[in-house]
């Protein structure tokens, strides 16, 4: 019997190396993950659809390419799970909504195309809050995804399926999308790494739009190095997304090692205020002390507009959503209400039948913010406060290199505990929405657990295009602790 760790417990970086060196075949790696999904996902519900046959065929193609002597891409043979809001030619995308019923995409998103070009094996699409609107993956037509560390609790959201899949060892990497925390918060709840890059660092082409000035393509990994590997594959300008940045992408895996000597870590007072669970505070403060042990110096920082971030975020994201979601009208794709009716009734009935309650509420709120007589007081006001929030960060980064804070004010909450109270759900995003409004990168890394074993995440926030610095700090912290190695108690990896 081999002493090697089970395939499904290995990192993406280790798997890519083993496949490249011939120690593992891509097909056996894909087989191992598919078998684990088949035996364990019924109780979690992280996948909406598994692309088993296609994945195995892709893996065999990677093995054939290697046998021919072709060089493999950086993710050659590495399985990746995809959130249900990325399109892929010939495959279904549903955004966990009835309104996209039956939609098969005629084109592929840039993020998925880059993963394919890097040799990744796409395992299937993962569950999410409908149209990425939620913080718990409960607002899904497919039902809630459960937390692998405690099935009575939420896995976070909106990219909860992808976070749970990585935590449960169903995939070493996964794509999520982060608009106001939708990758960082589920990463914190599920004990994995989740990186929201600088706005525009990765093309949004083919990511179904929720709030176009906030949406970011964002990867999950079980290690910071894996997250960096995914970013290196995904980053870069794209002519199909005019908001993608022209600044050249970097090799984000190159600068991970080394001490933190000279790094200034800012500690924003506003992120340690009322409502922060004392257990979360204790672990995050211990993590910041660990960064100091590694050579960093800490600097107290003020981000005075933080308290306005949740209202600002929700006024802007719902305004943009109300416009973006007007395309779902029952004409070109998806669900259409039946019956003999005029055009306007068809639109209204289709949308009433197709959207869930949270999406409807956000469309109504966004329509209100943009409507005549209210625009200046709501959308325009929020857009101005957004400037003040961005300026807070710009000032902070003249005094420090990265900021360290909790990702979420509390660990994973009970399923059903916030679904009837939208404001309570929105307030759970209080620590993640400000970096989104400012467009700066941020990563959540595991930094401990409650006495019940629920993971806690530390959020590191960097200046625009400061991903390399951010990943360096996160990697140094992770490697000096063992928090990222803790597996959920349900079904330890055996294959």
């Amino acid at each position: 019997m081999s002493d090697a760790p089970p395939i499904t417990s290995r990192s993406a970086t280790e798997l890519a190396t083993a496949i490249r060196d011939g120690g593992l075949r891509a097909a056996e790696v894909t087989d191992a993950f598919l078998a684990r999904i088949a035996s364990h996902d019924t109780g979690l519900g992280s996948f909406i659809e598994v692309w088993g046959d296609a994945a195995l065929a892709e893996a065999e193609a990677v093995d054939a390419a290697r046998a021919r002597g072709d060089a493999l891409g950086p993710l050659g043979g590495v399985p990746v799970a995809i959130k249900d809001n990325y399109v892929r030619r010939g495959f279904r995308t549903g955004c966990a909504s009835k309104i996209l019923d039956g939609f098969v995409s005629p084109y592929t998103s840039t993020a998925v195309a880059r993963l394919e070009a890097a040799g990744a094996i796409l395992l299937g699409r993962t569950n999410m809050d409908e149209f990425a609107m939620g913080s718990s993956t409960e607002h899904s037509i497919h039902g809630a995804t459960k937390n692998p560390f405690d099935p009575a609790r939420t896995c976070g959201g909106s990219s909860g399926g992808s976070a749970a899949a990585v935590a449960a060892r169903f995939a070493p990497l996964a794509l999520g999308s982060d608009t106001g925390g939708s990758v960082r918060q589920p990463a914190a709840f599920c004990g994995v790494s989740g990186l929201k890059p600088t706005y525009g660092r990765i093309s949004r082409f083919g990511l179904v739009s929720f709030a176009s000035s906030l949406d970011t393509v964002s990867p999950f990994g079980r290690t910071v190095a894996d997250t960096a590997l995914a970013l290196a594959v995904l980053a870069g300008m794209d002519r199909n997304d005019s908001t993608s940045l022209a600044d050249p992408a970097e090799d984000y895996t190159a600068g991970l090692d080394g001490s933190l000597d000279g790094m200034r870590v800012g500690v924003p007072a506003e992120y340690f205020g009322d409502g922060l669970d004392p257990v979360v505070e204790e672990h995050v403060r211990a993590a910041i002390a660990q960064l100091s042990e590694l050579g960093a110096t800490t600097v107290p920082i003020e981000l005075p507009h933080t308290r306005y971030a949740v209202p600002t975020y929700y006024l802007i994201c719902t305004s943009e959503a109300s416009s973006n979601l007007s395309r779902y009208d029952g004409v070109r794709f998806g669900h259409r209400a039946g019956g003999d009716q005029d055009l306007d009734t068809m639109y209204s009935r289709t949308r009433a039948e197709g959207f869930g309650s949270e999406v409807k509420l956000r469309i109504l709120l966004g329509t209100f913010c943009l409507s005549s007589g209210y625009y200046d007081a709501y959308y325009l006001k929020a857009s101005k406060v957004r400037t003040l929030i961005r300026e807070d960060f710009e000032r902070a980064f003249t005094q420090c290199d990265v900021l360290a804070a909790p990702t979420s004010p509390f660990p994973a909450f009970d399923l059903g505990s916030k679904t009837d109270d939208p404001l309570a759900m929105y307030l759970s995003d209080v620590l993640t929405v400000a970096p989104s409004l400012a467009g700066v990168p941020a990563i959540s890394v595991p930094c401990g657990a409650t006495t019940d074993g629920l993971p806690i995440g530390m959020q590191l926030i960097g200046p625009a295009l400061g991903e390399a610095k951010l990943l360096h700090a996160a990697h140094a912290f992770e490697q000096s602790t063992g928090h990222h190695l803790v597996e959920p108690c349900f079904g330890k990896a055996t294959s």
Binding site: P311, R332, P422
Partner: protein, 94 residues
Amino acid sequence: MDSDTIRALAKLSRLELTEAELDRAREQLEHLLGHFDALQQIPTDEVEASPYPRPISLRMRADEPGETLPPEEVLQNAPEQRAGQFLVPRIIEG
């Protein structure tokens, strides 16, 4: 928010809602807007709005024809189609 306002919003949003749904939405929006009104206390007369996180300049590309999707592939997702076109309920009587 009165009942006429929520009805107008539902109409603008093209959402056919029941009376119970309208009532619930009105209560929820009132609750949310009450919280969000905290923004009104911040002076912003001298502040520029940020429609994007950072200033973005429009990037022009050469006006060259590229590949487009074949119409039959685009139409494959249509709930109803006829003769290469999307079909909608009749809008002109005759």
